[in-house]
Symmetry: D2
Subunit: 87 residues, 4 copies
Amino acid sequence: MQADKKQINRLLKTAYGQLEGIMRMVEDDRYCIDISNQILATEAVLRRANKEILKAHMKSCVKNAIAEGGGDDKINEVIEILDKISK
Amino acid sequence: MQADKKQINRLLKTAYGQLEGIMRMVEDDRYCIDISNQILATEAVLRRANKEILKAHMKSCVKNAIAEGGGDDKINEVIEILDKISK
Amino acid sequence: MQADKKQINRLLKTAYGQLEGIMRMVEDDRYCIDISNQILATEAVLRRANKEILKAHMKSCVKNAIAEGGGDDKINEVIEILDKISK
Amino acid sequence: MQADKKQINRLLKTAYGQLEGIMRMVEDDRYCIDISNQILATEAVLRRANKEILKAHMKSCVKNAIAEGGGDDKINEVIEILDKISK
């Protein structure tokens, strides 16, 4: 992975902690809307991690592959991810 | 929370396991696109958990509040969540 | 439809005008990224119109149906829409 | 624009026709949920047009710019669009 490992780890750990919190909220029978909001917050952190990973990927792997005369496979991979993100 | 606790727990545990896997992938310097796909899969599981929670919430809390002559606050809460989901 | 017709019409006309602009941009061979940004802006206006329609629907049709002792069908319809929005 | 003009035009005309239909539905006071479903369908067509435009853009403009030794601006533009899509 080409993204800043420290930043990605920080984001993933945040999501991990949020998810542990959500499992406790379910256990404690907390209010549905509060749990729902926490799930949305966790999704937002994962989306941010994913965007950072994709940015770094395009700026390194994709770019290098194209500069070396190829890159079509890499572009197709990014497009497949884009397809999933923009369903 | 009104949703089926067992189902929600199963979904949250799945997301939790996926997230642990993603953190290992980052540690092991795995390919960006593989990590990105795993993050998208985890988001999909969280979205599913959230939808189940909201369904159950509408079919119980919201419905009961309206049947008892109120419910406007509950409807507004659901609309706020809808606003966040449909950004 | 229960939403403020004037507001919904205004939003739909905005989207309509944007779409006409986008078709001209395609005709004039404008820059891809500029066209992409205009499409995203049009989607945002449609999402807003949809949210206003759903809000009004929940505050009137859904609420009234529940208050009259029913409403399960109406709740299921809203959940189906939620399912599509939160794919 | 680099995408297949015919295909993009076809998608945009579909969205345009759908939008005209939606405005008539609002005029005719049709059921909220039916209008909502039509709006979602129109958004889906616009998303598809946008994806086709971005695919073609990456496979031509972005790729060519990188192959000519540049491309950082183009990559940043695609990332900005990705940021908007994945809010």
